[in-house]
Symmetry: C2
Subunit: 291 residues, 2 copies
């Protein structure tokens, strides 16, 4: 084991996030063991220099990163722990409380599992893996009172080796915050993008900036997002109910205005001012402008 405490890391699941973690770790000299239910994904990652195949002879890893969709996470964790593949386990799913509850029900050892989630690394333009995907991004780590301190130390070290900033919070706090800043925006983007399915081709050809910006997150895999939203349904519905109500009200005011009655247009103006103020808060919080 090197002085980082992370000499060997295993990565299960070689999508964009898993492969990018592997590439980042290889750049820092960590030995990386790769596995995926799709053998071709392993071949591709090995070819890219992301590490070596995790086989029967592989050493026990210091840390194992599970980078699979949230519904597959609890079973994958249990299986990896039964095979004793590593000392410490973490994951990267976008929702934290429900998968942890399920893992506990399955009898997983939760003392050596540190739920994790890299935030803000999404690009929406492609799904290519790259070693700097997480550079400067926040990365939530959700310890609870039962988590072993050495497990948290190794998970933090993983985050730092990927160039990201560890942010410790409990799983419920994580799920509440990302409902607002990630899951609800995704649903809003998706509803807007859905209106484009039947859009006249001459409209899309105008290549407007606004709709391109707003619909960006709809580029992400809908099945992955179905799982995330389903497992964070309570918090997402709380945020979404207010947004949906604002849009229903705005729509009613617009319908009235189209008949020449501006009685409720003051509320639309208020919504616009509020949105402008909310956007300014985001920018002032250091958000890197993507739009």
């Amino acid at each position: 084991m090197t002085d980082t405490g992370l000499a060997t890391v295993a990565v299960l699941g070689l999508g964009q996030v898993g492969t990018s973690i592997a590439l980042a770790l290889r750049d820092r000299g960590v030995r990386v063991l790769l596995a995926d239910s799709d053998g071709q994904a392993v071949d591709s990652a090995v070819d890219r220099g992301a590490g070596e195949r995790l086989d029967e002879d592989a050493p026990r890893a210091d840390l194992l990163v599970i980078a699979v969709p949230p519904e597959a996470l609890p079973g994958t964790l249990r299986n990896a722990q039964e095979r004793n593949l590593a000392s410490v386990y973490t994951d990267v799913a976008g929702v934290k409380a429900a998968p942890a509850t399920r893992a506990r029900q399955l009898g997983c050892d939760m003392t050596g599992f540190v739920p994790g989630h890299p935030i803000g690394e999404e690009t929406f333009t492609d799904d290519a893996a790259r070693p700097d995907l997480f550079r400067g991004a926040a990365w939530a780590l959700c310890e609870d009172e039962g988590t072993r301190p050495d497990a948290v130390t190794l998970a933090r070290r993983l985050v730092e080796l990927c160039g990201a900033m560890p942010v410790l919070m409990d799983a419920d706090t994580h799920d509440r915050l990302v409902a607002l800043i990630s899951h609800a925006p995704y649903l809003v983007a998706t509803a807007m993008a859905g209106a484009l399915v039947d859009a006249p081709v001459e409209a899309l050809g105008l290549r407007p900036a606004g709709v391109g910006c707003v619909t960006g997150p709809a580029a992400v895999d809908p099945e992955l997002w179905r799982q995330v939203l389903n497992q964070n349904a309570r918090w997402v519905s709380c945020v979404l109910s207010e947004i949906a109500a604002d849009l229903v009200d705005a729509c009613a005011a617009l319908q009235l205005a189209s008949t020449g009655d501006d009685s409720y247009f003051g509320e639309v103006a208020e919504l616009l001012r509020r949105g402008h103020a909310g956007r300014r808060r985001l920018v002032e919080a250091g958000h890197k402008s993507t739009g």
Copy 2:
């Protein structure tokens, strides 16, 4: 008059769009006359090399560009025509039918007025003027049966000198298309951004990519957008009513799912797939990805 037919252009209104047009024309050797109700805006534009002050001694322009908010447009056009400032007039407002109707009511000469709208030039990151703001962008020009052919020729030439692509369409078609690709996305972005006004600071500090992308258009001046939405209320309400209904339905399905009842989650999954397909259509139409 040079071979372009545009030797002298006047620009009324020196915000980002008006000043950027002036800068682009200066780069192409056109004489540009500048005016704004705010004298300081004229000084700044002159200092930036965007042209010279439009004063009493100024020559009659070949074309006058009105770059003011839509509510101010009809009165500004009438006043400019009364002063006989140019042979041909155009504008850049984001909505076309209602201001034209009002201008007609005010007695404007509509034969020499070609309503225009540069589309897709927005950046949402700053409001700085620059000569290449319109490069490669679509720019709608709305002639009707009464428009003089020489007026359309000059307006097209303006668009080409700015590096943009003229797209001819009638005003109603314009308003219907931009309701879908610009005005509704703006309202959706604004409703999402409004939810951030009271967001916990630790949520914003995670600097998530999704919400930054989705809320981009909310950075634009809310008073300008109030006018645009009000004047395109009918088409925007048509688009928005479906989006709002989708979000209301998704919210109800999420609330049920949070109680363990997935009965309606299939509809959420369908919404996600539809959004993914809509986004793909936009990208396939050559949209430059900003998210």
